[in-house]
């Protein structure tokens, strides 16, 4: 029995009818076509599927779509302003903070949630906040550097 689901995704309102068993990541990718969000394990272990729900980083493979009913969701597609990249995205490019890029959307969304909450984190705080995000390519250090540099940039912009 399909149920109604109302979501705001990247600023756009959506009204959907879906089976209750469907996961948020499935609805984002396959109903809304937002393929930027990936899954690497479907078990909450890799965090590649991270999106923002009301500004908080959430693994979209570990939540039913209906649990997000009425919420405001941001995916990787909602971060840039057209062709103008968000400073975190630009910083990931500048610091070679991705290689294959498959975990990157999840890493960037988690970094966004972190910097929204803690605009000036220490290296240790970045590592702690990002620790659940697996990356098999980069060895993480260059991601940490990218996030720290983005934090500086964002603070400069805020001033």
């Amino acid at each position: 029995m399909k149920r109604e689901l109302k979501l705001t995704v990247n600023g756009e309102p959506y009204q959907l009818f879906i089976e209750p068993k469907r996961l948020l990541v499935d609805v984002l990718r396959n109903e809304l076509g937002l393929k930027g969000t990936k899954t690497g394990c479907n078990s909450g272990a890799c965090a590649a599927c991270t999106v923002l729900i009301d500004g908080k980083a959430v693994k979209s493979c570990s939540i039913l779509a209906l649990q997000a009913d009425g919420r405001d969701i941001t995916t990787i597609e909602g971060l840039a302003d057209g062709l103008n990249l968000h400073p975190i995205q630009q910083s990931f490019i500048d610091h070679w903070a991705f290689q294959c890029g498959f975990c990157t959307p999840g890493q960037i969304m988690a970094a966004k949630a972190l910097l929204d909450e803690n605009p000036n984190p220490t290296t240790e705080e970045v590592k702690l906040a990002m620790d659940g995000h697996l990356c098999r390519c980069t060895g993480y250090n260059m991601i940490v550097e990218a996030i720290l540099a983005a934090a500086q940039k964002l603070q400069q912009e805020a001033r």
Partner: protein
């Protein structure tokens, strides 16, 4: 050193925008109209006869469009070692028997994933379980279960390497030691699992989008197994979410999706689950390593004898290459006047062990560099000194195998000496371990039996001066797209943004053997450079006609200008020359071709990277936990094309190799992998990563494009061995089997304490 305009400069990834915005499309993301979802039924027995497969119930399930078994497809034993037919031993689907838990036996296509999954449950397979064998030493014994007919003692490949006379060498040695090491498996764990989307068209042609490192291999092997013409199969590699050597072959997803598409007339997509990725993809080759080494009192190495037995799993896969390479790298990077290697690849009832980043070398380095350290201690020589004394040098000839041209190892060791001196004395329970390594820049071998050049490229210049570069080189995250675009821009004298890449499509691009053995920078780099030089020469002809310079002058192209090298003020705009060149060719585009195949470069590789790494650890005696404090690497990759990319390779390699050293393992019970998920399979995480420092050693490799060598896999080789040495120097325990888990450290510490208490008790 020559000053370049593009190469050698830190350059961001040409695919950056796509990858940080979610626009980058992976096989995982692809959808076609009318697409069906496929799933593969896999064996739950490690070794069994298939008596019957009943697919009738599955076929009747609403939404199921096709169910296939080997009765439909044929068994089609295939593999990459096509020059040796008997080594092509892996069925696309199993017909009469299964050889590991995860062997594919049937596949379905249905209108959605849930129905496909349900259909798998309805397929009834009647098995007759057979005795299975999981350890290669057991499998080699008389009377062990036979995994493949006609393969005696389950030994499917033996490789021997020998030069000099080891008996003589040992006779002349002042000191000899023998050691045994056990090397664990490791899972590639790319974040994107294997996957393929196949679509047959009405003209009997097949297009497959797939997550692969080797589009050309997949094209050839699909053509072979589907009994089609090679060029009726088009393989396209979209962005790939990591490979690390695990996506070099034809896999069941690619074959089954293609066959099911042919059968249903609709596109079919199959993506491996994470569990399938663990049980039915590949793993790093586990090995038993027996080493005997002989040296003079001053540490000069005289002889080494190596015997390796690999737990090969159920099929040959690329392991046959790994078996040779581990023997080769056991003689690295030192000058052994006498050397002998005997390697055995043994079938076991486990998933095939195959190529993985480093391809036999991390095993050789873990064992060999541990032993060198032990030897140094026996002889009372400093670990750095013994390495310096025996290090390979430029132009060194390894008899019958290869000639080392450029080699920055001696400088790397000198720099490492300075670093160690600066680091000074360490606090209690801390230690630094060293390991040296060297690695291929592509392989010379042609077991795939391609008639084509190993790498080839095409460059096309359009009327506005924009450059199209066509290459089948497979960027799977390592950054070859950026590297190759930089090489093209440098050679042609244009800017990086003038280059547009067309990659990974077997129809659009001429052949490349793929992203393995760290081959793209040197091999495809040479092909791209040659293609760019070809178009440049055509432009110079036009420039010569326009400028009529004195014949003694040379032309140069740089910064979108074509000018006289000796008179840089005299030149033309690149754009004007391009326009004239196209007019002069009756309006045809300017096209350049380039190719590379190693010739006269021995058995292994045209060039080798070198380096030495120092790993500093702190060991917690209470818990056995090893914390990596710092990793310092002095390495020689020849002329670095993109420093940002090389650092990325280094950091990533440390992560992967530290996991190999400390925590990654695939324990099995009766052939069943016990941790096939990302919770129980332990990867290095953010907080485990140490600080890193890099010391670049400048060399110029004459065979490489602009002097470049590999930087991808070599860096994966030293870390685990250096870790083992560091742990010894920290707390005095020597562990000869990886991963070095806290349990092993604690046990060893306890044993050591026990020994010393017994000794002091005796003294009392």
């Amino acid at each position: 050193m020559k000053e370049y305009a593009v190469i050698g400069k830190a350059t961001t990834n040409v695919d950056g925008f796509a990858k940080v915005t979610g626009q980058a499309q992976y096989t995982f993301d692809m959808v076609l109209p009318q697409m069906l979802y496929g799933k593969i039924l896999r064996s739950s027995y490690p070794h069994a006869k298939i008596l019957n497969i009943d697919t009738s119930k599955a076929k009747k399930l609403a939404g199921v469009k096709a169910v296939i078994t080997a009765k439909d497809t044929g068994e089609h034993k295939q593999g990459c070692w096509r020059r040796f037919r008997e080594l092509c031993d892996e069925p696309v689907l199993c017909l009469e028997k299964v050889r590991y838990i995860g062997d594919p036996v049937a596949a379905v296509a249905a209108i959605d994933e849930d129905i496909a999954e349900e259909a798998l449950d309805l397929i009834e397979v009647e098995y007759e379980p057979l005795l299975a064998v999981f350890d290669p030493l057991e499998a080699m014994k008389e009377g062990a279960p036979q995994i493949h007919d006609g393969v005696k003692n389950n030994i499917n490949v033996t490789r021997n390497i020998e030069w000099g006379n080891v008996e003589e060498g040992f006779k002349n040695s002042d000191h000899i030691r023998e050691d045994k090491f056990v090397l664990a498996p490791q899972s590639h764990t790319p974040l994107e699992t294997h996957g393929a989307l196949a679509s047959f068209d009405g003209n009997g042609r097949l297009t497959v989008w797939t997550s692969t490192q080797t589009p050309y291999y997949v094209q050839c092997l699909l053509a072979e197994t589907l009994e089609m013409g090679e060029n009726d199969v088009r393989v396209i590699k979209p962005h790939v979410g990591g490979g690390f050597g695990g996506k070099n072959e034809l896999f069941a997803d690619q074959f089954c999706a293609s066959f099911l598409s042919k059968k249903t007339g609709r596109p079919v997509k199959i993506v491996y689950s994470r569990e399938e990725e663990f049980i039915a993809a590949r793993r790093r080759i586990p090995m038993y390593y027996y080493l005997k080494i002989g040296a003079k009192r001053d540490g000069t190495l005289l002889a080494k004898e190596v015997r390796v037995i690999t737990d090969g799993g159920a099929y040959t896969s690329m392991n046959a290459t790994g078996l040779y390479l581990t023997g080769w790298f056991s003689a690295f990077p030192y000058k052994y006047p006498n050397y002998k290697y005997d390697g055995y690849k043994v079938y076991t009832n486990k998933n095939p062990a195959s190529s993985m980043r480093g391809f036999g070398a991390p095993q050789a380095v873990f064992a060999g560099e541990s032993q060198i350290d032990m030897l140094a201690e026996d002889l009372g020589i400093d670990p750095l000194e013994i390495r310096k004394r025996n290090a390979m040098t430029p132009h060194y000839v390894v008899p019958g195998q290869a000639t080392i041209e450029s080699c920055g190892l001696p400088q790397a060791l000198d720099k490492m000496g300075e670093y160690l001196k600066k680091r000074g004395k360490l606090p209690k329970d801390r230690g630094i371990g060293l390991a040296c390594y060297g690695f291929n820049s592509g392989g010379v071998f042609n077991w795939f039996h391609t008639p084509y050049a190993f790498s080839s490229a095409l460059v096309k210049i359009n009327i506005d001066g924009k450059v199209d570069l066509y290459t089948l080189a497979a960027d799977v995250g390592q950054g070859s797209n950026t590297t190759l675009a930089m090489i093209c821009a440098e050679e042609l004298g244009v800017h990086l943004e003038d280059i547009r890449l067309h990659t990974g499509d077997t129809t659009l691009c001429s052949t490349d053997l793929g992203a393995w053995a760290s081959r793209e920078t040197l091999m495809m780099g040479n092909a791209v450079k040659m293609a760019a030089a070809d178009v440049k020469r055509q432009l110079f002809e036009i420039a010569a006609m326009k400028m009529s310079p004195n014949i003694v002058y040379d032309f140069e192209a740089k910064d979108r200008r074509i000018y006289l090298r000796e008179r840089p003020d005299r030149g033309l705009s690149y754009y004007d020359v391009v326009k004239d060149a196209i007019r002069a060719k009756d309006g045809q585009l300017i096209i350049g071709r380039g190719y590379y195949t190693p010739h006269g470069k021995g058995m292994i590789s045209p060039a080798f990277s070198f380096g030495v790494q120092a790993v500093e650890v702190e060991v917690d005696r209470e818990t056995g936990q090893v914390k990596i404090i710092k990793v310092t690497t002095a390495h020689d990759s020849g002329q670095v094309i993109n420093p940002l990319g090389v650092r990325g390779q280094l950091e990533g390699a440390i992560m992967m190799a530290a996991g190999y050293g400390l925590c990654e393992d695939m324990p099995t019970d009766e052939g069943k992998i016990l941790n096939p998920n990302l919770v129980d399979y332990k990867l290095i995480r953010y907080r485990d990563m140490p600080e890193t420092e890099t010391i670049e050693i400048d060399t110029y490799e004459p065979e490489g494009p602009f002097g470049a060598k590999e930087a991808g896999e070599g860096l994966t080789c030293p870390t685990a061995g250096a870790l083992a040495n560091a742990i010894y120097h920290a707390v005095g325990v020597r562990i000869n089997d990886n991963p070095i888990t806290p349990e092993k450290v604690l046990r060893a510490l306890k044993e050591k304490e026990g020994k010393s208490t017994r000794r002091s008790a005796r003294k009392a």
